[in-house]
Amino acid sequence: MRWILVLALLGCALVARADFDYGLQPRQIADGVWLLEGSTDNFAQNNGGNIVNSGFIVTAQGVLVIDSGPSKRYGEALRRAIATVTDKPVLTLWLTHHHPDHVLGNQAFADVPIAALAATTALLAEQGEAMAENMYRLVGDWMRGTEVVLPTQTLSPGLLDVAGRRLRLLGLRGHTGADLAILDETSGVLFAGDLLFYQRALTTPGTPGLDVWLRDLEQLQALPWKQIVPGHGPVASSAAPFTQMRDYLGWLDSVMREGAAQGAEMSELIGVAIPPRFAAVSLSRYELIRSVSHLYPRYEQAQMERVDR
């Protein structure tokens, strides 16, 4: 295993926080709804992968947790953080999608049902090991002991009653092909998962297409939400995250569509100017480089024809 070596090397030189404390501070954003907000940076030794928003809803009988974070340590810290605001037991963990920063804390919830869309479980089974290995490479010892734990229950889109609290589940596809969004109808809080990034550039590995993603956003925005929790970035009570996402997705799409029509090389596209209106969006250059790698081949092929004879 390559990461063991990497870990051993990092172990000596590491200047990270010696106590590996994520410092999770639950913040109440609505009646019974709590948020743990991560940074809008990239995975790094100094954040332990805490670049993600997770949350939980305290119902009459217990706690529904949404996403488990990037590591076993995070999952355990999340359990402790929940215990600081309620004595009620954790009832279940729901996963918005299979990306490592949202699911690698699952071990800390092995005592309760872990639920996700069926396709999310399939994607995690397929890609989980490789994603975990990559996380070890990126954030090092924060990951110690972390293993992939697959969901034990399947969620289906529709209305669901959890201990008297009505939740609307949407099964969408734009970010990974299997993306769960959760609207808490009681509070109007929409947990959008990574269908929404705000002030942080969106990531595209596994997207079925930016057009699919744009259609998902329309559907999400039309819901009766009062507050939005994006997968990454600050909470909002206006439609600003939707506006920014649509603008950004449209820009990304046009960069690649126009580039392909002009015969641009990938190496040229990754250097295009990022419009000033996205100056506040963190990691836009980094994610542009990644998105061109993920998506440009499709745009190129749409321009090409068979020319062999």
Binding site: E265, S267, I270, S293, H294, M304, V307, D308
Partner: protein
């Protein structure tokens, strides 16, 4: 000592010794080795005018886009060699653009780990002008299982070419993608099977440029060349099993 043990030795020595060469714009312990092996130790200069454009990191180590541009030496270029220093198969291409073809080539490659990428441009005065860049990578691109071979019916698509000609200000850009697994012999006991020769020809069959390819080139190779004039061109390709393919652009 064979090449692989030399490579290994060099890697082990990396943290302790400074084998890097004066004036080298990238950190490298392999320059002397490749200079001797690929350029026969001939006179060279590190030269920023030979541009090696690539991403700072490999998002997909199996498909890393590189663009080598020696337009600054247009009219003087004899050959362009490109290689990825720390790849198990270092060489990428050996390109001889004729008078009508620009000394510029874009291609996608596999890399096994973070590595310097070099493009050495031989000009008529016998000097190698060496452009350099560095790419970071999680790695494994050379030993990853084939994506092409996992697709049903890939044999029927072998040698199919997708392409398009794009009109630029005073030339045309020819972009193609050729269906081929480009097996490099490092994966799952599958022997080397890759496109190793290409020629760009004009309508009368005259050779405009020759290109030798190595199996560090990605599966389903993507190539981009620039040629002067409006005339129809033909791209001829051959793999190491003797299969020949042609495309008109």
């Amino acid at each position: 000592m064979d090449g692989r043990s030399l490579l290994l030795l060099a890697l082990l020595a990396w943290p302790c010794t400074g084998w890097s060469v004066e004036g080298d714009p990238v950190t490298s312990v392999m320059w002397n080795y490749h200079h001797a092996r690929l350029l026969d130790g001939a006179p060279f200069v590190f030269d920023e005018q030979v541009r090696v454009l690539l991403p700072p990191f490999a998002e997909d180590a199996r498909q890393v886009p590189i663009l080598v541009d020696a337009s600054a030496y247009r009219g003087q270029v004899v050959r362009i060699l490109a290689w990825a220093e720390l790849n198990p198969i270092a060489q990428i291409f050996d390109f001889a653009p004729g008078a009508e073809v620009l000394p510029r080539l874009a291609i996608r490659i596999r890399i096994e780990q973070a590595t310097p990428i070099r493009a050495a441009v031989l000009t008529r005065d016998g000097i190698w002008h060496v452009g350099s860049s560095y790419i970071d990578a999680a790695g494994g691109g050379c030993t990853a299982p084939s994506v092409v071979r996992a697709e049903a019916g890939w044999e029927e698509r072998l040698g199919q070419v997708l392409g398009k000609r794009f009109a630029l200000a005073d030339s045309s850009r020819l972009r193609v993608q050729i269906a081929h697994p480009m097996d490099n012999g490092l994966v799952g006991g599958i022997p080397e099977f890759y496109l190793n020769q290409a020629e760009l020809r004009d309508g009368n069959g005259k050779v405009l440029a020759t290109l030798e390819l190595f199996p560090s080139v990605s599966e389903n190779p993507t190539l981009s060349l620039e040629v002067q004039g409006e005339g129809e061109t033909e791209l001829w390709l051959r793999d190491n099993n003797g299969n020949e393919f042609k495309a008109a652009l």
